[in-house]
């Protein structure tokens, strides 16, 4: 119990630090931090599948991309509307509908098949936005001219073109997502889902509709991933097929491993660790991929529980000595 209290404290500290960060006046870094916050949300959404339900999806970037492209298509490609009130629900509903359909297929498989099949389906989405002009298909993606407008009537509720407003908007999105997911995991459905991770056959024989529950979680995780994608497109004035690439799916799994799974703080810590690590390698070496690759290999071999397990590992080590 002490340990989980520590995690809540860590979570609170992270949120407070992020709240205060812009007051440091490092304006140059606000952009980077808000991108990391978006990735943290993305990682937390995947954690719902991997860490809590035991479903290792290797195609989670597809839903990130659906959210991002939904905004890009509505606002710039087809110039339907910039309004937040329309584009966000469209993005979330698109992810929900598509992930429901994909889920019907992929959730029939287990374990290693699930890994490969989610990757393959994500690849379909990648090729769609890469090749089909009607949905913005091109290698370069789409440039966006504006961020979502958040108005009631003619009154501007929030001006997202203002970088600071955007920063806090993204942070609020992460905060509310974490709170919502926290409540979800404590609901009867959320508990049942965590039971599926521990022993699927037992849950099945007690009479839980395991397939349906997995499908619900799959859809929920995809919807939160598409929220992250939506925010990404809004924040960065652009989308491209790389957002849906398998690299992106692997990166987000990596963030979870770096940070530790089955605890929201893990996804957040992992997102920061991953981006900072990548940044350090890119700044100080010409061969950042090589060093990142070596780091991953060493990490998997020597620290399977992630950074979040470091305190308890150290404690165990000290205890032994």
């Amino acid at each position: 119990m002490v340990e989980s209290k520590n995690k809540y404290a860590l979570l609170a500290v992270m949120f407070i630090a992020l709240l205060l960060f812009p007051t440091l006046g490092l304006d140059f870094y606000n952009d980077m931090v808000s991108r990391i916050v978006i990735l943290a949300l993305f990682a937390v959404s995947l954690d719902l599948l991997v860490g809590y339900t035991g479903l290792i999806s290797f195609g989670h970037a597809a839903w990130f991309g659906v959210g991002a492209y939904a905004f890009a298509l509505l606002s710039t490609h087809y110039q339907v509307t910039d309004s937040f009130w329309i584009t966000l629900p469209v993005a979330l509903i698109a992810a929900a509908v598509l992930s429901f359909i994909v889920g019907l297929f992929v959730l029939r498989t287990k374990g290693i098949y699930f890994i490969m099949v989610t990757l393959a389906f994500a690849q379909v989405f990648y090729f769609l936005v890469h090749d089909v002009p009607a949905i913005g298909g091109s290698t370069d993606g789409l440039n966006l001219y504006a961020r979502p407008t958040l108005e009631i009537g003619n009154w501007v509720l929030l001006d997202l073109e203002n970088p600071l407003t955007m920063y806090y908007f993204i942070l609020a999105a992460l905060f509310f997502s974490v709170v919502l997911l926290w409540f979800f995991l404590r609901s009867p459905l959320g508990r049942a889902v965590q039971g599926i991770k521990i022993n699927e056959h037992r849950m099945l024989s007690i009479g839980f509709p395991v397939f349906r529950y997995k499908l619900i979680v799959f859809v929920i995780a995809s919807v939160f991933a598409s929220l992250a994608g939506y925010l990404f497109a809004a924040q960065s004035y652009g989308v491209n097929p790389e957002l849906l690439s398998w690299h992106k799916s692997a990166d987000v799994l990596l963030m979870l491993i770096f940070g530790g799974m089955g605890q929201f703080v893990g996804g957040m810590v992992g997102a920061f660790a991953f981006i900072l690590l990548k940044d350090v390698f890119m700044t100080y070496t010409d061969w950042w991929q090589l060093w990142l690759g070596i780091t991953i290999v060493l990490f998997v071999l020597f620290l399977p529980g992630g950074l979040a397990s470091l305190p308890s590992r150290l404690k165990a080590l000290v205890g032994k000595a």
Partner: protein, 289 residues
């Protein structure tokens, strides 16, 4: 020969050749999983490594066949080293960790390729004595090298069949795939079998990359394309089943080749549509053991 029939024949030959190539790659992937329970997403990198070995060594020695021979030996050695240094530690671990470790390897391989050979697209000439076409009727012809590739792939497949079904080592591999614990108790040196199977898998992927290099480009990113398709092949065929891999590779190759002729707009999706349908019918593949 009538033009339609001739072009159908050409497409069929292309499909068979592509299917055999896919089979070599996917059989390594499925063997490694079937025997060791390891999912290795760096398998495409081994394919790429083969192609770059062929390119580099051909450049140094001027002889494509020397390059293939040396490349195969090098690849098998690299496979054994990787198994000994890394994969051996992951047999009992989660699939997730296997995925991440091999993802790390992909990054390492990509960067090493970039450092040593660069990011340009290269090509290798077809060896002169194989560089001719066979006439098909009056107007059409078919490049002989592609037939040669198919023949070599068939030979390798037969060799693999003999190795697995007719030799002592093969019976150990089969025992390891069925029940590695029991096999070990009965005196099979399972860690030796694992290393052998892993090296064999790496060798098969690299060999496919080498033999295909003169027929297509040697380019960055080539490993990932074949990896995803070979995943589909393994999923359709059923993990661990070499015959499943052969069957599925042919299905996918024919669908892909004829799809791009008759339904070019959906050809790219056809592979995945087939996979989805197979999964609805048999979630563990057609040839699930």
């Amino acid at each position: 020969m009538d033009i339609l029939l001739g072009s159908l024949l050409i497409q069929a030959l292309n499909a068979i050749q592509y299917g055999l190539l896919l089979f070599l790659i996917a059989s390594g992937l499925t063997l490694i999983f079937g025997v060791m329970g390891v999912i290795n997403i760096a398998h495409g990198s081994f394919y790429m490594m083969g192609a770059y070995f062929a390119f580099t060594i051909t450049g140094l020695t001027g002889n494509f066949f020397v390059a293939v021979l040396l490349g195969a030996i090098l690849s098998v050695i690299i496979g054994a080293l990787l198994e000994w240094a890394l994969f051996k530690h992951l047999y009992k671990r989660d699939h997730l960790e296997q995925v991440l470790l091999s993802y790390g390897l992909i990054l390492i391989f990509e960067e090493l390729r970039s450092i040593f050979v660069g990011d340009e697209v290269h090509s290798i000439d077809v060896p002169a004595w194989l560089n001719f076409s066979i006439p098909l009727g009056d107007i059409m012809s078919y490049p002989f090298y592609r037939l040669f590739m198919s023949g070599v792939c068939v030979l390798v497949a037969i060799g693999m069949y003999i190795l697995i079904n007719r030799t002592r080592i093969g019976s150990m591999i089969r025992a390891g795939a069925t029940n590695s614990g029991m096999a070990e108790v009965l005196g099979v040196n399972i860690s030796m079998v694992n290393r052998l199977v892993f090296s064999l898998g790496v060798g098969l992927a690299a060999f496919a990359g080498m033999i295909n290099a003169p027929a297509s480009a040697v380019a960055p990113g080539m490993g990932m394309e074949v990896l995803i398709v070979s995943f589909v092949v393994v999923v359709i065929g059923g993990i661990g089943s070499v015959w499943g891999a052969l069957f599925a590779a042919m299905v996918i190759a024919f669908a892909d080749t004829f799809g791009s002729v008759f339904f070019p707009s959906v050809a790219g999706m056809l592979t995945y549509i087939i996979m989805a349908m197979v999964l609805l019918w048999r979630p563990e593949g057609i040839f699930k053991r």
